[in-house]
């Protein structure tokens, strides 16, 4: 038995915002209330802390199998726990690609043995994410995938996307797409704009993303399937998602902390800023913040993309895309969204919990009988992120040395404390 005492419970599903105790019995929540206590329970004094449902990260890369020099399921989930995440969804672009039931099973088993938090794999849309035939989606669903995606690349053709969305509809799986028109992207290493012109780096116009989003939402309209836009990065894309939602199509989207924080003006030749989709213009970055505030964006997802040093310590043109993100996500959300008053506390929690859960078609709440997955965080403690102390195996983040106000203090998964500050 574990009692989380006197925390401020924020539960978006029930619109709860109240100080109360949470009693955990084994893997589940047993009771809630002013005096939900048990005589022999371990006590966690949560005075001054927020008690939220366990955070879910819809988008990450754990690199196992195939690139264990950059990350493993063990190190990645340890970093996730430090970031307050109780469940993470690794993309299938491992080597080999997670495109069949036995691969999914291997990941699930590895996560059960070595994972610090829950691992909910995402399967490939197409075999080998090669953009041709469909992957073994139903088989992977049985083995535990929660969505499909060819992340790293867009679903190759409108026809393939249509088939995947039709096929996935009765399976109850969303299709997650990395939206990018390949011919406009061709060779780009950052967003096209004044900074790319100044630096002489090949840029991708914002339209490379929104053209693909436009294709995708129309396929969502055509099929009635569930479409989720990964790491959305431009105003134009966001407007297409808003329009699709208005029409009642099942379209959702996520935004990463780095896209709502950084812009292309900060890139320089520092490969830690090289991500795909690339960091946007200040105008687009501000539009993303608006979308997070007004409800158009459904979830904050990290796109945690660890890379060993050798893949980043090269010329900007040759550096791998991606930055790590688990440990700084909440700190950045507080800094950029909550502290400046752009969003309420309940909305902040929603973006990390019921928002991503809704994309996956599941619930996420603090109630008796529910799995005891909880994220405890503070709004005020001062701390500085040091990548050299990161639990991740990789160090590729521009947020090294950044100071934050508030962040995760405890992560509980299935009644077990997996991270304590």
């Amino acid at each position: 038995m574990l009692v989380i005492r006197k925390g401020r419970v924020i539960d978006p599903a029930s619109k709860t915002d109240a100080a109360m105790d949470v009693l955990i019995d084994g893997e589940r929540i047993a009771a809630l209330g002013a005096e939900a206590r048990a005589a022999d329970a371990e006590i966690v004094d949560a005075t001054g802390w927020i008690v939220a449902p366990g955070f879910i990260d819809l988008h990450c890369h754990l690199r196992e199998p195939g690139d264990e020099a950059s990350e493993t399921i063990e190190t990645g989930t340890r970093a996730a726990a430090c970031g307050g995440f109780a469940a993470v969804c690794p993309m299938p672009n491992t080597r080999p690609v997670n495109d069949n039931a036995s691969m999914t099973r291997a990941i699930v088993e590895r996560a059960a043995a070595a994972g610090r938090v829950r691992v909910w794999p995402i399967g490939a849309v197409s075999a080998g994410s090669g953009g041709e035939g469909l992957a073994e989606i139903a088989g992977m669903k049985e083995a535990g995938i929660v969505a499909v995606s060819d992340d790293g690349h867009p679903v190759a053709t409108a026809k393939l996307l249509r088939q995947a969305m039709e096929y996935c509809r009765p399976l109850g799986l969303p299709v997650i797409d990395h939206c990018e028109e390949p011919s406009l992207f061709a060779g780009a290493v950052m967003r096209e704009g004044l900074p790319s012109t100044r630096l002489g780096l090949a840029g991708m116009p914002a339209a490379a993303e929104s053209i693909a989003v436009s294709r995708d939402v129309q396929i969502a309209g055509l099929t009635g399937g569930r479409l989720h836009i990964a790491h959305l990065s431009s105003r134009a894309s966001l407007e297409l998602v808003r329009e699709a939602k208005k029409r009642g199509w099942a379209v959702t989207c996520e935004v990463t902390p780095h896209h709502f924080t950084l812009t292309d003006e900060e890139v320089g030749y520092d490969s830690r800023y090289k991500v795909n989709p690339p960091l946007a213009s200040p105008e687009d970055r501000d539009a993303l913040v608006d979308g997070l505030a007004d409800g158009s964006v459904d979830a904050i997802a990290t796109d945690h993309a660890p890379h060993e040093r050798a893949k980043k310590d090269v010329e900007f043109d040759r550096a791998a895309f991606g930055m790590t993100g688990f440990e700084t996500a909440l700190g950045l959300a507080l800094e950029r969204l909550y502290h400046p008053g752009r969003i309420s506390l309940i909305r902040l929690v929603e973006l990390f919990t019921t928002g991503p859960a809704g994309v996956l078609g599941i619930g996420r709440r603090i109630a008796p009988g529910e799995a005891a997955d909880l994220t405890l965080f503070s709004l005020h403690h001062q701390w500085t992120f040091r990548s050299k102390h990161s639990a991740s195996r990789s160090r590729n983040t521009p947020f090294d040395g950044r100071s934050f106000r508030g962040g995760p203090v405890m992560t509980i998964v299935g009644g077990r404390i997996v991270y304590r500050r």
Binding site: E192, G193, L194, S196, T197, R198, L199, G200, L201, G268, Y269, A310, D313, V314, E315, F316, D317, R318
Partner: protein
């Protein structure tokens, strides 16, 4: 001021004063080019690595000659034979070069930012001899020296740059340099190579898509080399370029009388420039080459720090 300049990576971060100082420093080295005996002993015992990861003849020879005339030894690394082809990273190559204990590294590389990358990882001065589409600072310095010599000053110049501006590091360095002296800079070329962002690169920049209009009132006209491969992504027939943008005698007559014609080379006569213009009285092309030596000698001298002041050097060849 400039003594503290450790590397020369780009023109953009330099001030007009720093640039003027650099050009002043090149003066004595210009005179040396006219002496029968051109070799100095100023950098004797020093060594310069010429790390050319991208094919180059003119710039490589210019730097090599500049180093030789200062008495320095050179170690050359060429694209064809470089270990980069064998998969070695620039990081490892840079460290290997540094381990040879040179006094300066001159680098040309196809990746924008490569010179800065190397400068952050080695303990010796680095000179950027062209990095990707970013900058080619010594080219802009030699262009500025050429213009200043002919015109007396760089202030308030009206210049037109013709060609594929988007993909030109020469254009970027020249835009930054001349803008710092209050130039009115007109960029002209096919519209897809002339994005609107260029107008915000530096003060005083405007775009024009009609060469006749662009040349009106120009005191200096710079024609850029148009890389054939650029014409093919997507395809632009070469004849189209010639028809609309070739620098011809007829078009040049619309510029200010006696306007200077510059070209960074290598030049394709009959393509971006009419042979009569390339070889005409207004052409400064060969002066540019000679001034390139002077500018590069001055830079090597300043960054490596040879014995004796530059004033002594003016007489050293006597």
């Amino acid at each position: 001021m400039l003594e503290r300049l450790r590397h020369l990576l780009a023109i953009e971060p330099l001030s007009a004063e720093q640039i003027s100082f650099l050009l002043d420093q090149a003066k004595p080295f210009q005179q040396i080019q006219r002496h029968p005996l051109k070799k100095l002993a100023t950098l004797r015992g020093k060594s310069v690595v010429l790390a050319f990861f991208e094919a180059s003849t003119r710039t490589r020879i210019s730097f090599g000659t500049a180093a030789a005339r200062l008495g320095a030894d050179t170690m050359a690394l060429q694209a064809e034979s470089s270990s980069l082809k064998k998969g070695e990273s620039l990081m490892d190559t840079a460290q290997t070069l540094e381990a040879m204990k040179p006094d300066c590294i001159v680098i040309r590389h196809a990746a924008s930012g490569a010179a800065q990358f190397v400068s952050e990882r080695v303990g010796v001065p680095v000179i950027n001899a062209g990095d990707g589409l970013h900058e080619h600072p010594t080219q802009a310095l030699l262009d500025a020296l050429t213009i200043r010599d002919r015109r007396g000053s760089l202030d308030g110049l009206a210049i037109t740059i013709l060609g594929d501006i988007l993909h030109s590091r020469v254009a970027r360095s020249n835009i930054h340099l001349l803008s710092k002296f209050g130039a009115a800079i007109t960029l002209c070329g096919p519209a897809m190579w002339l994005p609107a962002e260029l107008e915000r690169l530096a003060p005083g920049v405007r775009r024009s898509f009609r060469v006749e209009e662009a040349l009106e009132g120009a005191e200096v006209v710079m024609a850029l080399r148009v890389q054939q491969e650029r014409l093919n992504e997507p395809a632009l027939p070469p004849d189209e370029y010639v028809r609309l943008y070739q620098l011809t005698e007829a078009r040049l007559s619309g510029a200010r009388p006696g306007a200077l014609v510059l070209h960074p080379g290598p030049m394709i006569r009959g393509f971006e420039i009419e042979p009569a213009v390339a070889d005409g009285a207004q052409s400064c092309v060969l002066e540019q080459v000679t001034n390139g030596l002077a500018v590069r000698m001055a830079l090597l001298f300043l960054l490596i720090g040879g014995a004796g002041g530059p004033e002594d050097l003016a007489h050293a060849g006597d």
